[in-house]
Every structure is written in C-alpha cells, then in structure tokens.
C-alpha cells in the first residue's frame, strides 16, 4: 500500500463537486461518481454520467427521498448502462419522474459491483490500484465541519448509524505539530502525524475543504468501513493502466 494516494491529482479522473440541494440523493451521486471515475481510469473516456437516471429508474422509486448505492448499481445493470448527464440531466425534483433510460444512448456501463472487506489497509490498497470507491458514514459531525482531519470515537460518532454515502478518493498522513488555523487556547494539542482518508462530498464546494473532507484512517471513524462498495467496470485487467499519483 503506498504512503499516499490522491486521485484528484490525476488528470480528468475526478469530476467537479456536485450539490444535491434538497434532494436526498447522496447515494446516487456517489455511485455515479464511482462509475465515472472507474470508466475514465480504465478507458480514458471522460464521460459525465446521469444521476437523474439512477433516481427515476431506481427499483424502490424513492427518487429524492433517499436510497442505497447498491440499488444504484442494480439500476445500471437493469438498464444496461448509464446515459450521459447532458442527455439526462439532474433535476433534483422531490418526486421521481418516469424512467427515461430507454430513450438515451448509454455512455458507460458496469459488469458487476462488489463490497470490499472492512480492513482499512485492504481498502487503501484497492483504492490505490483500482480507483475511487463509495463508502457510507455517519454524517453527524459534518454539519459543523470546516477543515482538518476528524478523529472521532464511537460515542461521538456511532459507526453503526451510517446515513450518508460519499466517494473515497484518496488517503495520506498529516504531519504532526500544533493544530493549524484559529487555535483556541485549549485546543493547541501537540499531535503525532495523523493518517487520514480523503472523501468527496455532494454538498457543494462552499462546504468543507472545497467540497471535500478528511476522516481519521485506522479506527473505523464514523463507520467508514461498514459499506465499502464499488462498481466493477471491466474484466480484471492484468496490469492497471495507471496507478494513483502519490
């Protein structure tokens, strides 16, 4: 497992930060971003895939009322792929629309989807070799998060109550030293270096670290290891074409 990995540094792999607005579709955005990134890594085709298709064609028909990433992958399999965002654009309406998947050419598809082990080393290895994956976390601490690495305990962020899906795009280690930024007198605790995950959220770029946030890596912070799920976008390749920039 490399020391650091940041798929944002690879050209044209990670798309811009989306904003789900009042539509509870983090699960669809995370799955679409996962498929899009894997497609770009495997085929070097810079597709923008439709989130709205996942909402309108979801088997539960919940649209903006919430859902699960695995339902999104099942929708992609059932519809033989995803239309482009351009053809089938995100509306963010509360009630689901009729499924229009058959109307549009598919620009990306998947062979399968899989859940990874809950071992954070194994997740890091898979991420560095194959690309970004989706994870589902307890989002409780994110409401007031501004920047830095969140290191929580099960009592401050229950790892069993996961309720928000995001895209895991990398990992690294923050140098030790005093806490940066506006230091409150009692908060300047000396720190050892802090291993962290880098996650892409869907709440717009005004939130967090330009739409991203970081969680401590190594103690299942906020339940990050509970549902590590990813699409499989091509038959197992012998040698991945590119690996994650350090």
């Amino acid at each position: 497992v490399p020391q650091t990995c940041d798929w944002r540094k690879a050209t044209n792999i990670i798309s811009s930060i989306k904003n789900q607005g009042s539509c509870r579709c983090c699960w669809a955005i995370a799955a679409a971003d996962n498929i899009q990134a894997l497609w770009r890594i495997k085929y070097h085709q810079f597709v923008d895939v439709s989130v709205q298709e996942l909402l309108d064609c979801d088997r539960c028909g919940n649209g903006c009322k919430g859902g699960f990433v695995w339902d999104a992958y099942i929708t992609v399999l059932n519809n033989s792929g995803l239309a482009s965002e351009k053809d089938y654009p995100f509306q963010g309406h509360q009630k689901p629309h009729k499924c229009l998947a058959k109307k549009y050419k598919k620009v990306a598809w998947i062979q399968d989807f899989t859940m990874l082990s809950s071992n954070e080393q194994a997740i890091a290895r898979y991420l560095a070799i194959h690309g970004p994956i989706t994870v589902t976390i307890n989002m409780k601490l994110l409401q007031h998060y501004q920047k830095g690495v969140i290191k929580a305990t099960p009592s401050s962020c229950d790892p069993r109550l996961v309720d928000h899906s995001v895209l895991l795009v990398g990992f690294g280690k923050e140098k030790g030293g005093m806490q940066t930024g506006t230091v409150l007198p009692h908060s300047s605790k000396p720190r050892r270096s802090i291993p962290f995950w880098i996650l892409k959220n869907s709440w717009g770029a005004q939130w967090g670290e330009k739409g991203y946030f970081r969680l401590y890596r190594g103690n299942n912070t906020c339940g990050i290891t509970k549902y590590p799920v990813t699409a499989l976008v091509s038959p197992p390749a012998k040698k991945p074409p590119i690996s994650c920039p350090p």
């Binding site: 695995w70 409401q143 007031h144 998060y145 290191k151 401050s156 928000h164 506006t182 409150l184 908060s187």
Partner: protein, 104 residues
C-alpha cells in the same frame, strides 16, 4: 473600524453581526421576525456545539460556521441523510427471502 475602541483591541463581533454575515454569505432570509429570532437561537447553539466538537475532536479538525449553521441537527439529518434503515439492512452476503414467495 466600528469594532475598534480606543482602550481595547477589536472586541469580538456581536452574535447578530456574525449572523448577519452568515445570512449574506449563504444567501439566507427568513419569512418573519419570529423565524429570524428562532434561527438566530439555532445559530448560536450550533456555534457553541462547534466549539465543543473542536475540543472533543482527537484529530486536527476545525469546526465552526458552515452553510448548515442555521439548521437544527434534526433538520440537517432529514435534509441530507438517507433513511436510517441502514443499520437493519441485510448483510450483502445473505440471501434475502421474501415472505410471500413469488413476490417480485
């Protein structure tokens, strides 16, 4: 310069001034004075909560004002979380049999 007084350094911004800046930054307006007062109270509570989180966090995270600082924790969870059925969702490996066989 209205914040500077001769005999002291800059005094911290009044809560209402901070809230005003929040409203401008995140384009917030409230339908009536009662709603404004209620949101101001929620905002003050959330800033205090962010300071508590800052103390409690074991990493390097910083907490404070965000686009969601005028929402209660419940409102935030309803707006942005998907349903909390996840802790009961069957393990992916298990085959889920439906009671009435043949149901799609």
């Amino acid at each position: 310069d209205s914040l500077l007084t001769k005999d002291a350094g800059p005094r911290p911004l009044e809560l209402k001034e901070v809230f005003k800046l929040f409203q401008i930054q995140f384009n917030r307006s409230y339908s009536n004075p009662a709603e404004y007062t209620r949101r101001l109270g929620i905002f003050a509570h959330n800033l205090a909560q962010a300071q508590w989180l800052q103390r409690e966090d074991l990493g390097s995270a910083e907490f404070g004002e965000t686009p969601f600082s005028d929402l209660t924790e419940e409102e935030f969870g309803q707006l942005y979380g998907h349903q909390r059925a996840l802790e009961r969702i069957p393990n992916m490996a298990k085959k889920v049999e439906s009671e009435n066989w043949g149901e799609s």
